[in-house]
Structure formats: C-alpha cells, structure tokens
Symmetry: C2
Subunit: 87 residues, 2 copies
C-alpha cells in the first residue's frame, strides 16, 4: 500500500519520531513522509512511534491507499530533497 504520514508532536520528540519514520518511508516536506509499505512494516513503524510519543499531545495522521496506482502526486514549485535543505 501507499501511505502518507504526517506528525504533530511535542518539539522534544520531533527528532525521535522523524528518525523512526525515516527508517520506513521517504521524507518529503516538513513533518510529512510518504512511501510504499507493507501492512506488517506499517504496524512495526506505528509500534515504534507509539513508544516515542505522548498520548495527550502528539498526533500522527496516516492516509492509506491500498493500491498505489490510485494516488498521484503533483509537485508545484520546487521539489525539495534532503540535500537541497543543506545547500
């Protein structure tokens, strides 16, 4: 399946959550990740995140599209990648 995951967590936990998501998905922009992932890997990823996040403040939104053919990404403006952030 294809997923888009965005997070909004306490600033103290941003780096930890970012690090977990980066293991499983591709970082796109700010607090947004995307990529193809299996059900098992997604569960594993969310279990790891749940150990790093707080119940009363943090939130993670997961948009699931079972068939990656059903989603199309269009970039408007500059397509950023990790390197461009440090140039």
């Amino acid at each position: 399946m294809f997923v888009i995951i965005s997070y909004d967590v306490d600033v103290k936990r941003v780096a930890k959550v970012h690090k977990v998501l980066k293991k499983y998905l591709t970082w796109t922009q700010n607090s947004v990740f995307e990529g193809e992932i299996t059900e098992g890997k997604l569960k594993q990823c969310l279990a790891e995140i749940s150990r790093k996040t707080g119940e009363h403040y943090d939130s993670i939104y997961i948009y699931r599209v079972e068939n990656p053919k059903h989603i199309k990404k269009v970039v408007f403006g500059v397509e950023k990648d990790f390197e461009s952030m440090f140039l």
Copy 2:
C-alpha cells in the same frame, strides 16, 4: 476527488498560503490540508497559490485520489482541530 496538500514556503508567505488553502480545504496539522474538491476548484486554488508563492524556494505537494473511497485516514494519538489549538 480527494486531495492532500502540503506546503513548504518561505516563512513570510506561510500565512498567505494557509489562508488560500483554508478557503478550499480542511486544515489538519501543521502545513497539511485535506478534503474533497473538484478539478475546477483545485485549479482555482492552485492559481491563487501561484500568485502568492515564489518559484525558487516554495513548494506545494498535491496528492490526488480520484475516488475518495480509495483513501482511508487513520489518526494515531490526539485528533487536533482548530479549537484544540487554542485551549
């Protein structure tokens, strides 16, 4: 169709871009908006955004899912809404 739009724009333009997107979609988290929209309204929205953004820095990512039934949203943790941000 259902769209998820995330933006990464210069801090000087964040409020302007946020305001345009809010006219057409629902704000979810940080720099992410979502919602059902027609092709015409999406074009109109993007035209408005293009007038507010800079070509060499800003980026807008649009994920399109033609049939809203093909996308499923799961919230993990706290589901934030506009009001909760000010409580």
